[in-house]
Symmetry: C2
Subunit: 412 residues, 2 copies
DNA sequence: CGCTATTTGTTCAACCATTGAATTATTTGC
DNA sequence: GCAAATAATTCAATGGTTGAACAAATAGCG
């Protein structure tokens, strides 16, 4: 999903307009204040005539709308500001996780226009039933969105596991799913999405990937390359390079939880030894802090840990320090390998960041060859627990902004 | 360097032609046998009329030439085959390494048309003097290329160290270079390159990166995403993702030599502990095999090691097995992180691959979560010792093929 | 040998999107 | 109330692709 979308095959005449639609819309999306047509002309290098023509298409397609003129000093005809439409296409974000279902709707501007979180232990629930509940929530979201003038143009579903290109969930260990054909199961319910050329009706992806995308598009805009680590029961990472998620050859990148941090250490359920997950996974931290007996939901355990650390509990502090050190070893590997300058701690790690960041930074400083010249930032995620659902919905609208021609060409 | 080159800013009318020039030329470059204009039309989706017009430009610019008609069964006017020109633009590849200088010229088709290797210990030589010697070799190469009808359209220099965007060699430890302003030093010599819009006259890059590019463009074409590991005194990796080299935020990606494989292990000169280089670097292997006293050039030491292993020497075999295991731990990390399916062992590792591959594969099998579904291939590099120089020259011509408009628009 | 079918490559008018200059629209400042 | 300034639109011209018609060159067949 690159921002400058080159036509896959032949560059035909229409491609020119497609490219410029994307260029102008992208500028409108990236601007801090509503730009005028003249602003867009100077920013893009197109002539005012072309910008006017392009904007006319965008207005007709409900992708942008004109806003009140931005006040400007000096003489001259006042400009008409252009903003992303708050009515028109929107993205549906879905998430199935271990202890909740989440649904949200995000508009073109990235605003969350609808949000539902349904807490429940999903482990004992059959995949088809879990998805049926999700569809019910999504249906309500669709109606709410329609009342606000929004049309759902695509959906993305986040799951805590490995997903292949076709949307088949190969393995979601903490959820107990194995080879679940999500698209087929969802196809049995009435469709909620208006089919738009170029926008897939449903994308299924790893939760860590989509949470990273959520972080990428959160405001204020951060760096375009970073590592986003989701510290849940498992540890997953989303790798964002140059503003695009890197999925790997088969879409299974980011398995940072199984980087070996003690190659001859504790055996891991993956078959390896000394994997990061065994030292910095949520269960490992909780056990090391002496909270093993507390059979609490994951997020409660994290909160309890943060409380203890806040209060200065020695066991909790030591557990967090050790986990941070292990995490730092793995992060140093990633930074050495990919030369990233930003690491975001998300999921359960976000709340624990005050205690995890120092040891992580210490390991980076000691192990990264280039750290002296180029400091690495480690910071908590700005999005909350439902980052993946928001990122999922955001990925849909981002795609519309990057390729507006599909939406404009739709039949409806 | 993406193959489908989208215009950075505005899509103007000329962009269409630029895009289609690149599209058609790219098809010609990728084809197994010389395609006809009609073949190109069906392959690209353009009309035959457009292809004819585009090809006319390419012929006029000496980027392609017509070949003998390829024999075809059935009736019809015989096609005229199109091949990349063996006269016209070419790329100059340069390499400064610890114990040799290398220069080569590669034509559009990827053929090496000139090659010089000058063996000498460069460590005691001042950077300016080393570069002066290199320029001398390059000058001869330019003359030889000119005799063959080739024009040097750009150059790339490989160095075994960290290079920043401006071509400044920040640190080349094994060469003893530090903050060497290569472009400024080379600018003091008469230029060898015809300035071409869009093609930088000189690119300076890490040796491991350029060797990976060489592997990417070697024949027969391999996968478009892989990890290329250069095992010299240091261990560097080039990461190729979707046919493009991934350089990292500042161009310092691939420092695989400093992935921690034994986090509390031997101290490394980078400041960390237990880095891969301490267990699988050339000096470490040689020492472990009991060859420490032999003060031989690096490539000779590797050859000796291979001889011993071939003869069944127990020390050598154990040293190689241990090094392969350490390498496997690091490679498993990379594969878990990036989901690559191919790992190429280059540089000094190429000759040792028969003994390194098995332990590497064993570690991957044990540590990579997805290895069961998707086998990972580990194989030696197909290019020889001067892979980096060939890759450097290849990166220049590859850029011309990806963006032919610049060459066509040149004054000459 | 000649005719037809077939495939390649070119020519040409039409079309589409961008361009650049001229024009209209709307405000500020004097 | 008028000139200057900025925003946006209109319109003939231009560059590039399109699609169909046409010319070129060959194999197969009678």
């Amino acid at each position: 999903m690159s921002l400058t979308h080159a036509p896959a095959g032949a560059a035909r005449q229409g491609s020119l307009r497609e490219l410029n639609l994307a260029l102008v819309l992208g500028r409108i999306a990236a601007a801090h204040r509503p730009p005028s047509r003249a602003d867009l002309a100077t920013a893009t290098g197109l002539t005012r005539a072309t910008v006017s023509a392009v904007v006319e298409d965008l207005l007709a397609g409900q992708l942008v709308s004109e806003s009140d003129p931005a006040p400007r000093a000096g003489a001259g005809r006042p400009a008409r500001g252009l903003v992303l439409a708050d009515q028109g296409p929107a993205g549906l974000g879905l998430e199935v996780n271990v202890d909740y279902l989440a649904v949200c709707v995000v508009d073109l501007g990235g605003q969350v226009r609808h949000r539902t979180v349904h807490r429940a232990d999903l482990r004992p629930v059959a995949p088809a039933d879990a998805l049926a509940r999700l569809v019910e929530l999504a249906s309500e979201a669709r109606d709410d969105a329609a009342d606000q003038g929004l049309t759902l143009a695509g959906a993305a579903l986040a799951v805590p596991g490995l997903v292949d290109d076709a949307g088949l969930v190969r393995l979601a260990p903490n959820l107990g799913w194995r080879d679940v054909p999500v698209p087929a199961l969802l196809a049995e319910h009435p469709p909620l999405i208006e089919q738009v050329p170029g926008i897939p009706a449903l994308v299924v992806d790893n939760e860590a990937n989509l949470a990273a995308l959520g972080e990428l598009h959160s405001r204020p805009p951060g760096p375009s390359s970073f590592l986003h680590i989701s510290g849940e029961v498992g540890i997953g990472a989303g790798i964002v390079l140059d503003g695009a998620l890197f999925r790997g050859v088969r879409g299974w990148s980011g398995e940072i939880g199984h980087l070996p941090v003690h190659p001859e250490g504790r055996p891991c359920r993956c078959g390896g030894q000394g994997c990061l997950e065994q030292y910095a996974g949520q269960e490992a931290i909780v056990a090391a802090a002496g909270l093993a007996r507390a059979e609490l939901p994951a997020d409660t355990a994290t909160a309890r840990l943060a409380e203890l650390a806040e209060a200065g509990d020695a066991d909790a502090l030591r557990a967090l320090h050790d986990a941070g050190t292990a995490l730092g070893v793995a992060v140093a590997s990633v930074v050495n390998l990919l030369d990233l300058d930003t690491v975001v701690l998300g999921g359960g790690y976000a709340a624990l960041a005050p205690w995890l960041c120092p040891p992580v930074l210490a390991e980076i400083a000691g192990r990264v060859l280039t750290a002296a010249w180029s400091p690495v930032t480690v910071r908590p995620s700005t999005l909350g627990a439902e980052a993946a659902a928001v990122g999922a919905a955001g990925s849909v609208v981002r795609r519309i902004v990057a390729q507006p021609a599909g939406w404009l060409a739709r039949s409806g």
